[in-house]
Symmetry: C2
Subunit: 326 residues, 2 copies
């Protein structure tokens, strides 16, 4: 299927998320341009490769790769796959690569991840959020492993869209890009709802992978960790409700069962921790806790997990666990 | 001070706790006999040594050391310094070393640690519990480091003591042994009260040392871990109250401040974890949680900590954290 050749997509941050979706979109015929930093030379040389257990071995070569956003052509859609912890730093690149009235889509987890970026962007740019339910990880420069899933749920955050109808039309256009590339995608009427919904997965699995040094299979095989996962999911659902977002009954159970059936998976936060990168604690824990608390709702287990992770994140640069204070 | 030469004390399990208190009691003139297993040869050869930052370098040599309880003379007091996880296994040794009407004192943390042992002992033996607020750890065969503190709070569990007066007289006799040895000791009217009180320290510090791989100094230096410690302490106080035990106002703050002033300390659970020994999770977490729940009181942060620790305990034999499932 070759479609949408006139839509130009810029990928800002080509890690596991950017690499996977960028290759899928380029293979569907979109004109995709990739901004890269440390992996530029490898990708310019050998292209981008996705080893997918779903779609097979995919290669994009040559790649329209750039070291600097100043060299990119004006893009209609800018997809941001970088960490939430670097959003503010990306604003100049986003602005340079944006066509007039471009749509900026943050493919990131957590709550309010647009808030830091929004004031740095011109009012003429649309800002959207996308929640990716996908098992991908980077295995080397320009090489991404895709183990399972892929769906992207999109919602409108802010920008020149004048009313809900206009905003939903833009969200539908975004969802259409992914669907054309063979990826399930839902247009969500409420971005906050979509973000809370995705937290039902991220809050337990991201944090526990770091805290317990465990991937999904052992976490789902032990009664105590299963109980803790369910309790954390319940608290996310309660927090969402307190903030005015009803998560559908059975949704948490659906994610729990889906995770049980997934191939063994290390969430991205575990990779961040093991590479001593800052953890996305604010987006995934700090802001949801604050939002729930402001609505009068305590989430004690999530708070305990957050406090433990914040300690580990702070000491991660020191060296191995078990060496603090010795 | 040489006192109580007629009181014969048997030490069952000569690790850090048994070694420290045994040496202190022997130096005070008590007739102390030590049951040892793996460390018998080292202790018979070179004696017991306590490197104390409070009392200086203490040596007990020769030591009245035994490989088998069958060889021990009948003891008036039996002090058990082994892990709660092995109490049932110790019953035969305790019975062999006990004089008629002997007092068995479990120097162990946690709730209801006497329950497994009690039915295995003759009714004629008194069973008591002692809560040790002390920073000690084993540094080698027969060598114990004592960093700070030492107080032992004692209460009566069960046995032939006919009424509260008779039971308290026995508890006072036990506290007197320690006080004669220069160790602060309180006779507690209610053992459960004393056990809940000690949990205010053990629940946060033991578990977090394992979960976060951190000793007391870094745990007390970070706002997130401090907040978590305080929240866990608050939950212990709430759980105790639900079970009918009022912990004095300010007691948790006292332990918190005391820990801040202590030398850097790795709780015993951390040593158990790093040596791949079973953790005392049932005594310190499982039973308090169950008791509070039975009284209608949820302790969510303690429960989350317990669930996380139970996962780690189960997988501890597998190898290093971060390797599960790989």
């Amino acid at each position: 299927m070759q479609a949408g050749a006139t839509t130009r997509i810029g990928m800002i941050g080509t890690g596991a998320i950017g690499g996977f979706y960028g290759v899928m979109l380029a293979r569907a015929g979109y004109d995709v341009h990739f901004l890269l930093r440390s992996e530029f030379a490898a990708v310019a040389d050998r292209g981008l490769r996705v080893a997918s257990e779903v779609h097979g071995a995919l290669t994009l070569d040559p790649v329209q790769a750039y070291r600097s956003a100043a060299d990119m052509p004006p893009c209609d859609w800018l997809l941001v796959g970088a960490k939430t912890t670097s959003n503010a730093d990306l604003a100049p690149a986003i602005i340079q690569a944006a066509a007039a009235g471009a749509k900026v889509l943050l493919l990131q987890n957590g709550l309010d991840v647009e808030d830091e970026l929004r004031p740095l962007l011109p009012d003429s740019l649309h800002l959207l959020g996308g929640l990716c339910l996908v098992c991908v990880h980077r295995v080397g420069p320009g090489v991404v492993a895709h183990q399972a899933l892929g769906a992207v749920n999109i919602g409108y955050h802010s920008g020149p869209g004048r009313d809900q109808a206009e905003r939903m039309a833009i969200v539908e256009e975004g969802a259409g890009l992914f669907r054309t590339a063979g990826i399930d995608s839902q247009a969500m009427a409420d971005l906050q709802q979509a973000r809370w919904q995705k937290l039902v997965w991220n809050v337990p699995y991201n944090g526990l992978s770091v805290l317990l040094g465990a991937s999904t299979t052992p976490l789902m095989a032990d009664d105590h960790s299963r109980g803790l996962i369910q309790a954390l999911m319940d608290e996310v659902v309660r927090g969402a409700r307190a903030c005015g977002h009803q998560i559908a009954p059975g949704y948490a159970e659906y994610l729990f069962t889906m995770t049980e059936k997934m191939p063994d998976y290390w969430p991205s936060m575990y990779h961040d921790y093991s590479h001593k990168r800052p953890l996305e604690l604010d987006a995934i824990y700090g802001r949801p806790l604050a939002a729930a608390k402001a609505a009068g709702c305590e989430l004690p287990k999530i708070e305990a997990l957050y406090q433990a992770l914040a300690f580990l994140d702070r000491h991660n640069a020191d060296g191995e666990r078990g060496k603090h204070g010795q």
